[in-house]
Symmetry: C2
Subunit: 345 residues, 2 copies
């Protein structure tokens, strides 16, 4: 057991609500003492944090699917940690756990939080720490339930996914292939596109940075689009809407192109394609499926084991790099699931 009095908890807090892209001044760096957990609680050292586009939304004021992070609070973040002290019989020191440590080195978990399931043990035989934040974590669950429950792809249908080299997109396309669909990605740059096709086995990938997404979709989706899993919104959503089939399903998972707008969100001007094609556009929030996570994780772990599912993580090291690292998401610079490694053990 660590000597707690020797430890300092470095933290990143929200200092101001950003206007547009978050700037360095929107964050504050603080330290706090590390304290022994209460009876029933745990002290967890953060190993790796998940950096997600949704974080940008949590920084805004106002109602959303989850409460905003308040000014002065430690920034919310999911992650994996190691139990350094346990006062709870269900956890032992050294256990690897997943939960929402926040952007800090140490996470004090109270007995009530443990009791309501805020922390779960993970099994590193099923996947690495990074995979537990990717395909076995929230991005994987989002891909799984968004595609299977909302998108409802049928064998032989064409599934298109934007952000195809990102955390959610990489798994959406692979799950589509596992279920007998044609999978077409949309990603930025030839390197990502090549990886999506050559390594992940998508049937094609359209490089939106190269220009003509419409022509790319026409070429690679000769039978039209039955399911579109949207992570980006904006012009790409509008373009895909011109290529959908009758009774198509559009899964609204995110809109990363719009999160840092200082003006209004660009709504889909082609939304009347839903009418013409009797199609559906529906939102997904992964937390709604929590009761089914364990089954889905077991299924995904099986695909990882038998090689039908690949995963890629983009790991950056150092808590202090958080502000800059987060911005990589909004510039499309991450290649795979973006992870901030805070400690290795």
């Amino acid at each position: 057991m660590d000597d707690l009095s020797q430890l300092v908890n470095h933290q990143v807090r929200l200092a101001a609500r950003p206007n547009g892209l978050p700037k360095r001044e929107d964050w504050s760096f603080t330290t706090a003492p590390v304290v022994e957990p209460d009876e029933g609680g745990l002290l967890v050292r953060t190993l790796s944090l998940s950096l997600d586009p949704a974080m940008r939304g949590w920084m805004n004021e106002g109602k959303s699917y989850i409460a905003p992070v308040e000014i002065g609070e430690v920034m919310r973040a999911g992650g994996v940690g190691v139990v350094v002290q346990s006062k709870n019989p269900s956890f032992a020191e050294g256990d690897r756990v997943t939960g929402a440590p926040g952007v800090q080195q140490y996470w004090s978990v109270g007995d009530k939080q443990v009791a309501r399931g805020d922390v779960s043990k993970i099994d590193l035989r099923a996947g690495t720490v990074e995979q537990w934040l990717n395909v076995l974590g929230m991005p994987g669950m989002t891909a799984y339930f968004g595609l299977m429950d909302v998108g409802q792809p049928k064998e032989g249908e064409t599934v298109v996914v934007s952000g195809a080299a990102g955390a959610v997109g990489q798994t959406v396309g692979q799950l589509a292939k596992i279920h007998g669909c044609r999978a077409v990605g949309i990603a930025g740059g030839p390197e990502k596109c090549a990886w999506v096709v050559d390594e992940l086995g998508f049937d094609a990938c359209v490089d939106y940075k190269a220009g003509d997404v419409k022509a790319g979709l026409k070429e690679h989706c000769p039978k039209g689009v039955d399911v579109y899993f949207d992570n980006v919104g904006g012009d790409i959503l509008d373009t895909v809407l011109t290529r959908i089939n009758r009774k198509a399903r559009i899964v609204i998972c995110g809109a990363i192109s719009q999160y840092n707008n200082t003006g209004a969100v660009k709504g889909p001007a082609n939304y009347l394609s839903l009418l013409v094609n009797r199609a559906r556009m529906e939102g997904i929030v992964v937390f709604d499926y929590a009761e089914r996570f364990s089954l889905a994780i077991a299924e995904m772990a099986g695909y990882l084991k038998d090689g039908r599912l690949q995963s890629r993580e983009d790991v950056v090291t150092g808590l202090e790099t958080f502000p800059e690292t987060l911005l990589r998401l909004f510039r499309g610079e991450n290649f795979g699931k973006l992870i901030l490694q805070v400690a290795t053990a």
Copy 2:
């Protein structure tokens, strides 16, 4: 039987594709001789035509849910007519029929058209000619299947409908009441709003011309919006999106505010409310439900008979007024289902 040689068929044809609101010059007025039907066919005299917002879409070039009207063609229109000559054993002279006569006085129906069901006899005991173009016709069917199949309202839920005093909207709200829902309309002007509440029995109606639709929805939908049946698009759609509940269903039936845009359609900037609320937006095209029309008509005729369903038609007389009369729809001037009466017998 009429002496056909004495008759002239006055017609309105599409002369040019309109830019924005259709102008008088976008139409041409022609005449043609009235000819005896071939074996198996019918000659039908138009009694009343249905004027619908969808007509504006048919005037545009390009793929939609139905082929465009070509330049020089008689303008497409649904309507009710009377059989003046029958060479088909299933129809007798004097039968009232419904179909798509087009904007003309006489409709020659070929044997193949009769065989594929383009013409159906109507029973005036179930409803008047006007009601057969309203609650027992396409507007009623659109309301019925859009609300029941796509909107899927449950008892106690709140249903909001725009264009509430229009053809489809009036029936949507009444069906919602019949199914135990709270029905809130959106309509233009105090007279329409009063009619919707006092005569049709909606729980409330928000006057969009009076200004603050958001405040009106807040007041009249204290439990939020579970189903929104959208006939108008534009700002009203965006406003309702800020008031929807979790798992809400938005039925996209039309977007009359956008049909005469010369620039791009205004997409719903608040579409990410679908994500936050795990809600759905889905298009309806009534023709998909053709196999179930007869059952739905029987149900609606029952509601008319027992007084649970009211209907209102706004009848304008004279084929030659078609260009001006159509524009009333886009100015929100019609009060009830807009019908062009061409002949009375």
